[in-house]
Amino acid sequence: MSELNGIDLKNCLLNAIVDVFDTMLSMEVEAGESNPEEITDSRIVGTVGFAGKVMGCVSLHVGDAFAENITAAMLGMEPDEIESDEEIYDVIGELSNMLGGDLKSRLCDAGFDCQLSIPSTTSGSNFKIESKGWMEQERIGFTSGNDKGLAEIFIKTGD
């Protein structure tokens, strides 16, 4: 655990969210609860894994309505112009890729070389993502207007 102490994962994740949402979506994001509950309603989770000297994954959880607003903002359209769920999954996957990319860069610069996976998305309701055996886990909530989301990172050093 001490090996990763130099990196403030929580702050890195929050800064990445603020930057990605501002640049790609022109959406202002504020930090929400420090240890938020899971979103239990129907939601979409974008996940990117990284492996190398450190292993782990970054996930972005957003409710369906928020995901639609995000997709519309990213593609410069109205929410009712979204043609399919595929567009929403692609956008959420791409956002998690950007979050993962930012964190991966910080880890690599700190000497923890790793490779990033292609993003994946999961959707549904009443499911919980549980990861075990990680050295560090951070979960942060954030808000954009009335919409709430959360981001998580699980990490451990490679063998």
Binding site: D19, V20, T23, M24, M74, L75, G76, E78, P79, D80, E81, E86, E87, D90, V91, G93, E94, N97, M98, G100, G101, D102, K104, S105, R106, L107, C108, D109, D113, L116, I118
Partner: protein, 247 residues
């Protein structure tokens, strides 16, 4: 001269953002979803610029770039790499491979244009061409009727856009032999001044162009329009079929 640009990215979202960024310029965009498709497209299209993602399935951007640099016909095509990774090692690896420039995601369309302009000469499209492009999202042809569908939110920006293309578009419609137009406002969720302006603009332009017009909307919209002097007398059809049969 039209600049040919190839975007290679597995994300449709990023391909759309790139396409949108170059929309205002005289460019021909082509797309590929991975390195294999990208190489084939590059060989076929001989683009003036390639915007290349790194992390992709099948063949990633680094492999594609290596193969591209190994092809005498393709090695001189300038490449701007797109990467979600800003780490020193990633950047050094990209730079060493001879790319013209790189962009770290997240990025804005304007930033991509700035980088592209250093590599290729982009010419802004003429105002009429931009207006014609903008009008495409609103118009569809149903049998012998042109349907102009307005979005959920009608604001000043939409108003200005419509103003920019309306006259020319209606002239083109008339020239093509069509004499009926339906203004579809069924998605509009708010009756505001921008909406009223659009209705007035379209009615006046149709009158000038001698086009028959019907308006489609919801009952709430119909009620809302009665509160404005400019639209209080307008009859609203509640479906496209009702509007078509009213001609």
């Amino acid at each position: 001269m039209t600049v040919k640009i190839l975007t290679v990215d597995d994300s449709k979202t990023i391909r759309m953002i790139v396409k949108k960024a170059f929309k205002a310029f005289d460019c021909k965009l082509s797309e590929a979803e991975n390195g294999v498709e990208g190489l084939a497209a590059a060989a076929k299209e001989k683009p003036d610029l390639i915007v290349l993602d790194i992390t992709m399935p099948v063949m990633n951007g680094i492999e594609m770039l290596e193969k591209l640099k190994g092809e005498p016909d393709l090695q001189d095509i300038p490449v701007i790499m797109l990467t979600a990774e800003s780490g020193k090692d990633s950047v050094m690896q990209i730079v060493k491979m001879g790319v013209k420039d790189y962009m770290v995601k997240p990025f804005k369309g304007e930033q991509l244009i700035e980088r592209a302009e250093k590599v290729v000469q982009l010419e802004a499209k003429k105002a009429e061409e931009v207006a014609a492009d903008a009008s495409k999202q609103y118009f569809s042809l149903e049998d012998d009727v042109q349907v102009m569908t307005m979005p959920v939110k009608i604001n000043r920006q939409v108003n200005t856009q419509v103003e920019g293309f309306l006259k020319t578009k209606l002239q083109d419609i008339v020239k093509s032999g069509i004499s009926k137009l339906i203004l579809n406002l069924s998605k509009a969720e708010e009756t505001n001044m921008s909406l009223i302006k659009v209705i007035v603009q379209v009615l006046q332009a149709c009158k000038k162009a001698s086009l028959n017009i019907q308006i489609v909307g919801t009952e709430a919209l119909s009620e809302g329009l009665k509160g404005f002097a400019e639209t209080s007398e307008i009859k609203i059809a509640f479906s496209l079929d009702e509007a078509k049969s009213a001609f």
